[in-house]
Symmetry: C2
Subunit: 367 residues, 2 copies
Amino acid sequence: MARRSRLRDRWTAAGGEAALVSRPANVRYLTGWSVPGAVLLLGADGRDTLLSPAAPVTDGRTGPPCTTGDLRCTVLPGDVSDPAVAAAELAAAGPATALLAVEEHDLTVVRHRALAAAAPRLRLTGLGRAVEQQRLVKDEQELAALRVAAEITDHALGELLESILVGRTERHLALELERRLMDHGADGPAFPTCVGTGRNSGLPGHRPGDRRVEEGDFLSVRLGARYRGYRCQIGRTFVIGPAPADWQIELYELVFAAQRAGREALLPGTEYREVDRAARHPLEAAGYGDVLEPGTGHGVGLEIGEDPRLSPAAMGKLDACVPVTVEPGVHLPGRGGVRIDDTLVVRPQADGGPELLTITTKELLAL
Amino acid sequence: MARRSRLRDRWTAAGGEAALVSRPANVRYLTGWSVPGAVLLLGADGRDTLLSPAAPVTDGRTGPPCTTGDLRCTVLPGDVSDPAVAAAELAAAGPATALLAVEEHDLTVVRHRALAAAAPRLRLTGLGRAVEQQRLVKDEQELAALRVAAEITDHALGELLESILVGRTERHLALELERRLMDHGADGPAFPTCVGTGRNSGLPGHRPGDRRVEEGDFLSVRLGARYRGYRCQIGRTFVIGPAPADWQIELYELVFAAQRAGREALLPGTEYREVDRAARHPLEAAGYGDVLEPGTGHGVGLEIGEDPRLSPAAMGKLDACVPVTVEPGVHLPGRGGVRIDDTLVVRPQADGGPELLTITTKELLAL
């Protein structure tokens, strides 16, 4: 598989030999298979082995993928949640080389120790975030999956907006959105759907509760479909009733301007923190600096919050074909707030600039 | 909080000083609060601090719980997914003692290293699975939550059985079960609902797909409600159509007998592996030894697969008030299979023996 070859080329150039990939999204990226608990052993000789606690199943396709091309698959006997079992199997299947690079940001101290004990002839070193680095820039197949995820998400949200909202609970609306995502072909929600109304609106991590939608409320929703493993995100805020209040219009316009500034900053070569600054500055200038979240966006792909982070301390520059969210928001405790989230793909100005995947309108709708 | 005092008593008796609890279910158990990314610092002096990336929210109740009793809550500024930020905050809030016990089975190598670097005056040691050990035996409040979770689960399954099943897809049935769990008051599903029909029936990790229920199928479902954080599990297998085939009756009766033997073995003082053997032996004797899973049951509580494991290699003995599943199954590749899962609480014979929480009938229903 081209992705595994590319990774191998990079890390053998850096002096690496065999590597063990354990982070689930990284295993899926490099094999196409999603198996809880599976790890991927990349041999320096090009022989790769998926060590799996069960026959792999991905999106309804059941494995084994064993002997597909250059990937061997070994189903581990025994309880792989026991690190000693996994480590011993690994040692048996493992490389004859002296150096094994592992994902130290994924392995727990206990698993790392069990691995070292079970394979004493191997010297463990760090693979770092090499696979996450490679996952930053998406290929056409990945972008196609993200576009479908966004289309499903827009459909689900659009249908909800046509229904009657007053009197329904946050929890009920969230369930309905998730059902509609599935109806339109999602594998599942990309993350737990967030619906907040009234004083709960605009809270980023709010868990939908029993509060009912009332006239005059802000209603904020955040949802996304997962399609072939790829996750997108949309966030919108509406007003319930015939007309928004002045403070609602003012707050909405402010967040909208901030979100637009963030979107417009999405160009190849722009520093991550510059994008964050573009979205953050209008909100800080309006006096909301104290209530802002640490970041105003993040990468999306096989995980919903992946690299890059769009935050004041983030280091690095955007590349073309990197999909990210832009999602500033302001929540006023006790009153409510506004969030507007989009998923976009970074594109050069010559290609028309950032590609907006989530196209539901960002006008302030009074529903 | 009594749970924190009990933990502190045990580990100070073992020579421990301060401790850092990072595993989410353990943090929730010891504080009552569920906050993604929060860690709990237990001071040797009885001063405990919840280091949280956001105001804690549990089951719709929004924090801060700060200054509730003996628990302080500090909301961390910055991006707590960055281990260096969390570690530095921790060092600032941390104890003046020399020894800090951490959960090495939860902390990644990178977080552990960042912690050591940010707090060089602390010597890190292992807390082991002390909190998991304490979580094994449930108190009355925990058992009450599990009983409600089981009641919700039985209701949801019962309603599904009254509806027409032929022609509906696995995916649609799974969604409907999850919706019914929520309708009856669940916080959410305890785990992804599993529905398998025909050749997919009896597969433990099957993801519901587009296969439709047909006459003559085995239909197996596995679901559970989460209520106040506590998770239960039920699994049942049905036959679709007027009458089961002979092979279906035979297989069902075999798995039923195995499951009953497992249930009847649930008494205080019985070794975990004896329970597993009771459920496993009838299936092995019938020639299915090769297709069995590593375990035939597990503990439930704040996590769906927690200690104890009921498997051939498990070490330890059951105590009263430990809730576990008993869930043997046989899947015949290409044909389908049978699973029967219950959640029960271990009780002494004098108190009537094991308390069955999931009471949906285990007769072989032809639907």
